[in-house]
């Protein structure tokens, strides 16, 4: 493949946000232009002649490119799915962890109260939570149309989020958060001396971090 043609097409698409439609058009243009170029070379034209003929044959691509730019409606829908999926994932992870808390908590309860054994109840609750959370994850994944999965506005946005002023705010916020969690963990552990249970604070902290990030991203989405 001629690298000059590839460069030309890359420049054409440099301002276009990456999406399924844009990628497909790019690949289609590139393969057809390369074939045309090779035919010109086979006819005995020089590389420069072939290149300029291929470019002049392309014509005005403005309308074509406008067609593959994700429009406002698409962006809004992509945002809807992203927020919904982030929320559902957070809920599912929380349910997995809360289910585990029930197993450990009810197991501990049985020990302290002697009489009844609640650990089976804990396992049953865990299984119910796992079933709901897994179902939610599968539903979320299957109900997201593929073109929204491919659309990587998120990447662009994340780059902005983690490099700009907002990114620095989020970073310092998170470092304060983790210091705070460490203090809470040590305080609770030494106070209760229940080290076999308190490690769960770390799992909960991860879930809360996800929730904080999601809320933060949602609040700064429109800027």
């Amino acid at each position: 493949m001629n690298s000059k043609i590839k460069n030309y097409v890359d420049v054409l698409f440099s301002d276009i946000p990456k999406g399924k439609k844009a990628n497909e058009l790019k690949e289609e243009l590139l393969s057809n232009m390369s074939e045309r170029y090779n035919d010109y070379i086979d006819e005995g034209k020089t590389e420069n002649q072939a290149y300029s003929l291929v470019i002049s044959n392309l014509g005005n691509v403005d309308e074509l490119l406008a067609d593959v730019i994700p429009d406002a409606e698409f962006k809004q829908e992509a945002r809807f799915y992203r927020v919904r999926n982030a929320r559902n994932t957070a809920i599912s992870v929380a349910m997995y962890i809360i289910g585990t808390v029930f197993v450990i908590g009810l197991g501990g309860l049985s020990e302290s109260f002697g009489g009844r054994d609640y650990s089976v109840l804990g396992v049953i609750i865990l299984l119910i939570f796992v079933a709901i959370a897994t179902g939610l994850l599968i539903y979320t994944n299957l109900s997201t149309p593929p073109e929204y999965k491919d659309y990587d506005e998120k990447k662009e946005r994340e780059c902005r989020l983690y490099t700009g002023k907002q990114g620095r705010v989020l970073k310092s916020l998170l470092s304060v958060y983790w210091t705070f969690i460490t203090l809470v963990y040590l305080a609770v552990s030494f106070f209760t001396m229940q080290w076999h249970v308190t490690w769960m604070i770390w799992l909960l902290a991860v879930v809360f971090q996800g929730i904080i990030k999601t809320i933060y991203e949602m609040r700064h989405d429109d800027e």
Binding site: E28, L29, S31, N32, S34, N57, L58, L64, D67
Partner: protein
Amino acid sequence: MLVISDVIRGFTDSIILAQLSKGDSYGYEINKTIQAITDGEFELKEATLYTAFRRLEADGCIISYWGNENTGARRRYYTITEEGRAVFKENLTDWNRAKEMINDLLNKEGL
């Protein structure tokens, strides 16, 4: 003055459907066929061609799929749908009528 290529451009969609009704094809090949049929006198700009592909696909007249070429870039092939064939047949009938009418209007002596 009548510019032939402008007249032909109005029929871009029908021309593409005509080529695809002979079998699946891809952008450059369709353009080569058009060039061959018109003895090199006419060729679609690629931008025009791909814009028409998008339009026809959105209207359900054609479907695209990717070929699996062993060497080089993948080709995007297009195939005509039943709906596309119906549209093409209609366009062909319309064109034949229009051709006769314009011929009559330009050539025939007035009554």
